[in-house]
Symmetry: C2
Subunit: 236 residues, 2 copies
DNA sequence: ACTGCGCGATTGTTGAACAATGGCTGGCGC
DNA sequence: GCGCCAGCCATTGTTCAACAATCGCGCAGT
């Protein structure tokens, strides 16, 4: 799960390279949720051994991007409505606790907050909408970091990675992404101004709105998927 | 220590079986913190391939029970004071949020709470002190379950497993274990009586006291360990 | 149309080979 | 005698191809 604390000389070999490519494909939406990843054929495609590929699968499994069932193989994680609700329960618990804990957090972490919001705003300015979602999530990761717990940071990282799976099937246009960054900025400023209770309220509304949006997207994708499945099976 | 896996109906794969056994040995204190696990010899002991054993090691690594240093192998995780603080930050965040959420939790989860406390009390009655610690932790797991999040349940489960590493080096006598169960009972009754704010206050005190105790134990074990290290190196 | 069986496809496991790194031992110079 | 350096050995990390176990699907029989 040691995801890119980079600078570390990870000579982790070919399986890491394969994992990087697959990760890219998954979060970019090239490999859609539910896609089965058959190791035999992918091993041939990449020109590596099955065992190496399985190692890459394992890495992605640690990051919550794929699921593995015994003797049924590996497939890209599919989020249903229950998963989204689960993720947002998690987000509320961790992020709201972090905001409440903000006054006790060291200055360094507050600065990281500012930095992440600035990065998101830069992504908006350059209209790199795919990056905007990622940058915004990084801000929320920095939010959780206020708690000062290595373990919760790692846990939240996986949670966020799964949420990105849902983003992959969403339209990434200006009117969908930009408003969130503005709200991130608002929360950041409230926190840096020491008004953590107001920040908490703002964050709660933020999460409620965001959950609604993601839920709609996931339900749409899910119904589209089941419709496609019915078509291939000839059910009407 | 030659223990073979086979014979059992291997319900979840062999690497998983090996991981189960090692996990048992670790949390039961058979393998003490810092014990190096050499893959060649353990693979022979278990009668499995070195590759399979490394798979098991990786599973335990994900669960935070062992650490892996590049080219230095795998060893049982040793918790230092920072780790304990980290774990208790996590416990406060999750458990207190769970208690606050209690009024919204379904009846079924409240009943589970009662069941777990009863189990802990039974362990006390039979003076099975090793089981008492485990049963008490299970109560706290049920507490977190009030949040209704599969992901947080899983996360808390590994957190608790790490905490048991510290318990492994603690004296497990009546006067150390029994009081916690009584306090668990108090919290449980408050929750079932709908007085979640009082339960929250009680839980906060509980966690503060528990953290102090575990911290002392870990510091004692740590200093004992470093003293032993100095002795073997000839440092006075 | 339904049920049971067998086969192909796919995954899980193995053992070996090779590379890379860390620690240790022995020798050297001071 | 003490400290430092170099080379060797043991252990770990990575990859591979072959073997075994299991699941799902199609086919035959009723």
């Amino acid at each position: 799960m040691s995801q890119t604390i980079d600078g570390s000389p990870t000579p982790a070999g070919r399986s890491a390279s394969v994992a990087d490519i697959l990760r890219e494909w998954i979060v970019e939406g090239v490999l859609l949720p539910g896609t089965p990843l058959r190791d035999s054929v992918m091993a041939a495609d990449f020109g590596v051994s099955r065992n190496t590929l399985r190692e890459a699968f394992r890495t992605l499994h640690d990051e919550g991007l794929v699921v593995q069932q015994l003797h049924k193989g590996t497939m890209v994680e599919t989020l249903d409505a229950a998963d989204v609700k689960d993720i947002f329960v998690t987000r509320r618990t961790l992020e709201l606790a972090a905001v409440e804990n903000c006054p006790l957090a060291p200055e360094r972490l507050l600065d990281a907050l500012e930095e992440k919001v600035a990065a998101a705003e830069h992504a908006v300015a350059t209209e790199d909408w795919k990056q905007v979602g990622t940058a915004s999530l990084r801000f929320h990761q920095a939010l959780v970091a206020l708690l000062g717990s290595r373990r919760m940071d790692a846990f939240f990282h996986v949670t966020i990675a799964q949420l990105r799976l849902a983003f992959a099937v969403m339209a990434d246009e200006a009117e969908f992404q930009a408003p969130w960054v503005a709200r991130d900025r608002g929360i950041c400023d409230l926190l840096r101004g020491g008004r953590s209770q107001e920040a908490k309220a703002a964050l709660r509304l933020y999460l409620d709105d965001s959950e609604r949006l993601v839920l709609d997207a996931v339900r749409a994708a899910s119904s589209a998927r089941s419709a496609a499945a019915s078509r291939t099976k000839g059910v009407r």
